[in-house]
Point group: C2
């Protein structure tokens, strides 16, 4: 039949011999039997189990958990796999955002297009940006607001492409962190969100070039709601994320105001 030594199994499965030793040590994958010479011998069954292990390992599941997981029966495993599926889907979406960020960075480092041509509001066409600025001016603070926006833009240009880039990436990261809370079922009014909203507000502050006050931050929420582009953008993180986020932002602003 099939009888593999460590090296053979290693080649067939693509892992190292040391890894097989390790899996034996921690009891995750034991040899089918051990020779008198203390050699480890594996059979077809172990090969299949190993493949199952590697499958879960690629998903980022800790080895310990993989062991427990493989000991369960089908019912449970479906539930667990579904969770992993959701996590993986999230990671893929994040990675795609990262890809876009990289492309922007490269474009900027190559000096292709100034910031006006790029997307200050991450992912939206330049023509739209003016529209959003108008909206902010119309709905909040008039000239004071306009001045604030200009200040932000200038600081922005002064800092150079790499700084712009870093800041944009940071904003996306903050967004994703919030999206994870949303996906995890955290309530939009939870005070546990404060650190994450702090972070998001800090990012907005950077865009503006100075501290973003509470009512301003609450105002952003309204802007997000008023423009369908934002809804499209945010709902990529999951259906309903836009509503959840804006609710959270307003609740946070209200808490801070008191």
């Amino acid at each position: 039949m099939s009888r593999y030594t460590v090296k053979q199994l290693a080649r067939l499965s693509g892992v190292s011999v040391r890894t097989l030793h390790h899996y034996d040590e921690i009891g995750l994958l034991r040899p089918a039997f051990i020779g008198e010479n203390r050699y480890r011998y594996y059979g077809r069954e172990e090969l299949l189990r190993l493949q199952d292990i590697l499958f879960h390992r690629e998903l980022g599941v800790p080895l310990q958990e993989i062991g427990e997981l493989l000991a369960r029966d089908g019912r449970d495993r479906v539930a667990i796999l579904s969770r992993h599926r959701a996590l993986l889907a999230g990671r893929i979406e994040s990675s795609r955002q990262l890809l876009r960020t990289i492309d922007r960075t490269i474009a900027q480092l190559n000096g292709e297009g100034t910031m006006d041509d790029q997307d200050l509001y991450h992912g939206f066409a330049p023509a739209k940006q003016a529209e959003y600025e108008e909206w902010l001016v119309d709905n909040y603070g008039g000239e004071a607001m306009r001045e604030r926006i200009e200040t932000g833009k200038q600081q922005w240009f002064k800092a150079g492409p790499e700084a712009m880039q870093a800041a944009l990436a940071s904003g996306e990261a903050a967004e994703r962190a919030l999206a994870e809370q949303f996906a995890g079922g955290t309530g939009a009014d939870s005070t546990g969100l404060d650190p994450l909203l702090d972070r998001h507000r800090a990012w907005v502050s950077q865009m503006w070039g100075r501290e973003c006050p509470r009512e301003g931050y609450g105002g952003m929420a309204d802007m997000y709601l008023a423009h369908p582009d934002f809804r499209t953008h945010f709902d990529k993180h999951g259906e309903g994320f836009t509503d959840w986020l804006t609710t959270a932002m307003k609740a946070y602003a209200a808490r801070r105001a008191s």
Copy 2:
């Protein structure tokens, strides 16, 4: 101006205080200045650098390399970023394959559809499978081949959905490993590919239920070439991968025959 303590910077950037200590220790991110009380104080510049660091960290770049990377100037960085971009794109594609694998696994564990309805040839419609089998029978070994295929299928069903699943995932992993070599510029006739092709052949053997002989493995290459579906499938890993892979398979089979 802006003067942040460790905790403040941690909140704004989403990392832990310990991480900031660590980055200071290894010289990756030093505070703007240190107070007489030995407190670390960071400024806006450090915030930006930190964001830049986190951006690269998300790409999986080791901290050491991030440090060296940030010390370079724009020209080099574009090249490096491009490499990272390619790697990330590859990872995304792998993850999407994994997603599909998970979906199949879940479907199978739920008992939705027997294996006949599923894709034995990973990713192709059931109707196609019969076609491929016919092709193999017509071009290689006639009845002997047909019997071999049936043997494989039976062992397949007997093993149950999870084993099928594990084997499928393993095949995809082997495929990806080869695709990485292709992307890295390895020649299709390199003997260094032997372990990876061993692995792939071992997978094919599993599908067949017994050892896959050399001429059979070479035959698979012809089948891949004869059916455009395979080309479509393999070329997802990069344009020209199908040709490269089939060449490699034949070279390997020839080597083994000698």
